[in-house]
Amino acid sequence: MRIFVCVALLLAMAPLGLPLFAMTLLTEALILGLLAMSLDLMVGYTRLISFGHAAAYGLGAYASGYLLLHTSLPLPFAVLAASVLAGVVAIGVAWVCTLAKGVSFSMLTLAFAQLLYAVAFKWTSVTGASDGLAGIPRTAGPFGVTVFQTKNGYYYLVLVCLLGAYLFCRSLVGSPFGAVLRGIRENEAKTLSLGYNTRLYKIAVVAVSFALGGLAGALYSPFAGFANTELVFWLFSGQVLIMVIVGGQGTLIGPILGAAFFMLLEHVLSQYTESWALFFGLIFIGFVMFAPQGIWGLLTRRARA
């Protein structure tokens, strides 16, 4: 907990010391961190491998973008509404996907995400098709709060969301509900025979995961000012999964670090080569082979030794 407060304070003071472009990068890293952390609930804690988590992000991004463009809803409410929407949609998706297990489950999540991708491409009146939604405004908050309209103000909104989501997830995985998730991860058949309706638990965790992933997407589109089909594309789903695995699955913190690492590396490598993804792929393979516990695993092992 002490470490958590230290990191939170450090992040809160970041705008005082960092130049504006670095703050932009940091804001995006935190948003991606939130997305990766939300996926960790499924992948790391329940062993539900989703190949379609971009669906959560895209749902949130398009929903908040649409609300901000076409209604006068204050920004925090639009973001919240988009997050709730993603969670509610996830209940239906999870109901279908949990009919299958293992690889079939993963394939169904991928299929659903691709379905959403196709919808985003075709539903011109709502999603703007291949142009996407552009010029998404950061509207003033309720009661005349305008602080989110500035870059640093928006950073604080993102930071509060991430820290809040982290504390929420931490409490969730440590609760009786979390203990059942761990049971499902290790031995689903046994968990079922012990009297747990495992499917219901899985649907619940997918809904929570999607709501938080949707929150990340909902924060992204007003930050970037646009939402396009790339946010729902399968490639992005794969990248988020890589962030979780490279960061260290089943740790919540790890995936946040993984997301930051991914962004930083993309930023640095792309200055030297266009095929930065190739090098990132090699790094990913290295992690899977030599450090399956990920970045966070390496850090904590060093600390314990």
Partner: protein, 249 residues
């Protein structure tokens, strides 16, 4: 009224009748063993009772309530806790955590998505009690996957026991154990059953285990019940001897 009643229970897979018109009454407090040669339908019967497969015809009644249509987790919630023929545990959790998760399943706030100190406290209490009764307290802190095979078999019984079941269903509790391990396991189980208060249905093919533990025995052969009585009578039953020794004697 018997606690667990099977009425004309039948399961067909295509042309094969795995369980054929089985009727059986298990009274509260008895230790009932279902025995029979390989392929007699013991495990299929077990699956029918626990809801893993659905019956072609016939009923399972538990405490007067028909269980048809209830899935396996609902039957467990009704009070039927089981173990598996092939050990099924949470290998990365400690023995204590295994029992805690098992006990948690029977608490009303098992799903609570926050805090949970009181839920965990009560579940741990029940789990530790069960570990103690099976003589596993010494290894409670070890990951279940690292326990000896004998201890793993007993841990599964402890998990079922920590749910305070009304009927404890054991699927070949000594499966795959060495001679010495079997002896230890059987003595531990005998001590547990001697304490009374438990209703047990166990499937087993090891005769020595059965005669040591069971107060009543049901013998199955090719899907049907051919004998159903106290051990001393079953031992001398001509049909049973024929089923077990037929073709060899």
């Amino acid at each position: 009224m018997a606690l667990l009643e099977l009425d004309g229970l039948t399961k067909r897979y295509g042309g094969v009748t795995a369980v054929n018109d089985v009727t059986m009454r298990v009274e509260a407090g008895e230790v009932r063993a279902v025995i029979g040669p390989n392929g007699a339908g013991k495990t299929s019967l077990f699956h029918l009772i626990t809801g893993v497969v659905t019956a072609t015809s016939g009923d399972v009644r538990f405490d007067g309530r028909v269980l048809s249509g209830l899935s396996s987790y609902q039957r467990c919630q009704a009070g039927l806790s089981r173990t598996f023929q092939l050990t099924s545990l949470f290998p990365e959790m400690t023995a204590r955590e295994n029992c805690r998760v098992a006990a948690q399943a029977r608490l009303p706030r098992r799903w609570q998505p926050w805090g949970g100190a009181s839920v965990f406290g009560e579940a741990s209490k029940r789990g530790d009690e069960a570990l103690e009764r099976l003589g596993l307290s010494a290894v409670a802190g070890r990951p279940a996957g690292l326990l000896s095979h004998g201890d793993q078999r007993l841990l599964e019984v402890a998990m079922a026991l920590s749910q305070k079941p009304r009927v404890l269903l054991l699927d070949e509790p000594t499966q795959g154990l060495s001679v010495e391990e079997t002896l230890t396991a059987v003595e531990t189980l005998a001590g547990l059953f001697a304490g009374g208060g438990l209703t047990v249905l166990l499937v087993e093919h090891d005769m020595e285990v059965v005669f040591r533990l069971a107060s009543k025995i049901t013998v199955m052969h090719r899907g049907s019940v051919i004998a159903d009585d106290v051990p001393s009578v079953v031992k001398d039953d001509a049909a049973v001897q024929a089923a077990y020794l037929g073709g060899y004697a």
